[in-house]
């Protein structure tokens, strides 16, 4: 069995499962946010269950339109707060303690290796980086699981992605996943598990692994996953709030497809409008002027991402034709950025340094694009209208390329500014 099949089998109380089967499995953690939880709450009430299945296993995180951007958003956030009080939920994160959900839960050790996690948010697939099976579902799935502690799944076929060779300077997990999506397309892994491995993955830090698994959904994948190792152990040790288990893949595990990439051939990569698969080398896009730069999100809002952007921008200024918005993904990252002097560095470079929020990533608030404007962002989606006006454009990149583009006022590479 693959690691995905093993985790699913264990949670279904079975010795084995195989691809294509429909199973019911126990979940270790359920999450929803200020957009998806209100529907879950309404549906949960319709079920008529006496209580939630486990008050310690439901995480409600207001992060999309929080801090509450308008009255309607405030009403939605209030539903989460009220429900959490009513059912005495342990994992409700108020503004001031919250962060972007997929950055917050691994950081706080709330998701651990071997877990089966569902979330009413498509980027729930992020936690595969820890060796957990995690996948995005709908609000109604969450409502049902809140009552029963279980969810139905179709066991996915697995696809393997092997990365070998050495990474070029400034090339990161983001470039690997953008390059991969560019290769296989936005439905290249539809319904499938994406398992990432190879020598490059074996030394990639957890931040880069989280970025890669985060974007499995952009290739249509059900989950992204990396077999846990020393780096996983170092990351979870000291932060895991529950016991964890390392699952591995069997030698004879079945894969429907195996893709191999020589990383020395992978350039700094940018996804052009309006699909993540529309990739080009950053160096070929120097004619694209940029109105807004966003560094943040569940994809690239971790401290390592902020450090990479800071290294480029240190002692320089954001181009007068461009605005730059830096959003640490959690309160802890915010604090670290302040303590390390990164906040000061960004502000001195004329960038905005924001409180944690999803904000502009989904065109919510805190940096919306006008008609005809172009942005480069470290986020994960560049669909039409994703960051504002339907006639605006979003380019996706890693934090170093985004920061270099902020200095240049057009898409560019770190080499051009250092």
């Amino acid at each position: 069995m693959t690691i995905t099949e093993k985790i699913l089998a264990a949670h279904a109380g079975r010795d084995n499962v195989s691809a294509g089967e429909l199973i019911n499995a126990k979940v270790d953690l359920i999450l929803a946010n200020d957009i998806t939880a209100p529907i879950s709450i309404n549906e949960f009430k319709k079920i008529g269950a006496k209580d939630v299945f486990d008050r310690d296993r439901i995480a409600f995180i207001p992060d999309h339109f929080a801090p509450q951007k308008d009255i309607k958003a405030a009403e939605q956030c209030k539903m989460l707060r009220d429900f959490s009080k009513e059912y005495d939920l342990d994992l409700y994160f108020e503004v001031g303690r919250m962060g972007v959900e997929h950055a917050l839960l691994p950081e706080q050790g709330i998701v651990v290796p071997g877990d089966l996690v569902i979330g009413a948010d498509s980027h729930t697939c992020t936690y595969g980086a820890l060796g957990a099976f995690s996948t995005g579902v709908g609000s109604t799935d969450v409502a049902s699981a809140m009552a029963t502690g279980e969810c139905w799944f179709r066991v996915p076929e697995s696809m393997k992605f092997i990365y070998y060779g050495t990474l070029n300077k400034w090339v990161s997990g983001k470039d690997l996943i953008l390059h991969t999506i560019g290769d296989i397309g936005v439905d290249g892994a539809l319904y499938r598990a994406m398992e990432f491995e190879g020598e490059v993955i074996s030394y990639l830090p957890m931040s880069g692994r989280l970025t890669i698994c985060n974007m499995a959904i952009e290739a249509g994948g059900k989950n992204g996953i990396i077999v846990p190792d020393r780096i996983t152990e170092d990351y979870v040790k000291g932060r895991a709030k529950r016991e964890y288990k390392f699952y591995t893949a069997d030698k004879d595990a079945e894969y429907v497809d195996i893709k191999e990439y020589d990383c020395s051939q992978i350039p700094l990569t940018v996804s052009c409008p309006h699909l993540p698969s529309n990739t080009k080398p950053a160096a070929e896009l120097s004619s694209v002027s940029i109105d807004q730069v966003v560094v943040g999100s569940c994809t690239n809002g971790r401290i390592e991402d902020l450090r990479a952007a800071a290294e480029i921008i240190r002692g320089k200024k954001v181009s007068p034709n461009t605005r730059m918005i830096v959003i640490p993904a959690t309160q802890q990252i915010y604090l670290e950025a302040v303590r390390e002097g990164l906040a000061e560095l960004f502000v001195e470079a004329d960038a905005v340094f924001s409180t944690p929020t999803c904000g502009p990533c989904l065109g919510g608030h805190m940096g919306i694009l006008a008609k005809g404007e172009k942005a480069i962002a470290t986020t994960n989606r560049n669909f039409t209208g994703r960051m504002g006006h339907p006639e605006s454009e979003v380019y996706l990149s890693n934090p170093a390329v985004a920061a270099a583009s902020a200095v240049l006022g057009r898409i560019g590479t770190p080499e051009e500014v250092l």
Partner: protein, 165 residues
């Protein structure tokens, strides 16, 4: 169950931001969501669409976010069914969970034109093109999904299970 209606056509990779842009997600009221259905893909769509219409699309319909607001908006606008070559997986499960009939058919997706009148036999997975006098078959729906549909969606199904246990 036979569903009968007029067709609107869409292409590949229609994402959830196109179906219902995030700027409207500060509500989950179905009627309000329906008023903005597909507006970034076709600004006039919310005024053109009529109750009973159908959507026919190409591959990977509903890709992107997990927002259940997408199938909810489609249903609330009165769309009876969506037929596509393939669906993004979260959209697929959401549709079954909330009771929006969806069908996968390469043939139907390729041969049906905008404005055609079609008839969908939901139980047998047969799609009839009344305008062109053609018939296409959809991929069979897995037994568990049929169970969900006949229960009336996931919430009803869960209710039954809780009562039993």
């Amino acid at each position: 169950m036979i569903l009968k209606g007029r067709v609107w056509k869409f292409g590949d990779n229609i994402d959830t931001d196109a179906i219902i842009p995030a700027r409207y997600l500060n509500t989950s009221d179905p009627e309000e969501l329906a008023r903005h259905l597909m507006e970034d893909a076709d600004r006039d769509f919310p005024t053109k669409v009529r109750a009973g219409d159908m959507i026919i699309a190409d591959s990977n319909f509903g890709c992107g976010s997990s927002r259940e607001h997408a199938p909810i908006a489609i249903k609330a606008a009165g769309i009876q069914a969506v037929v596509a070559k393939s669906f993004a997986r979260i959209f697929y499960r959401n549709s079954f969970n909330i009771g929006l009939p969806i069908f996968e058919s390469d043939d139907a997706s390729e041969k049906i034109s905008e404005g055609d009148e079609i008839e969908v036999d939901a139980d047998r997975g047969i799609i009839k093109n009344v305008t062109k006098g053609e018939e296409y078959s959809a991929k069979p729906i897995p037994p568990f999904m049929q169970e969900l549909i006949s229960a009336g969606g996931l919430i009803e199904w869960t209710k039954k299970r809780i009562k039993v246990s």
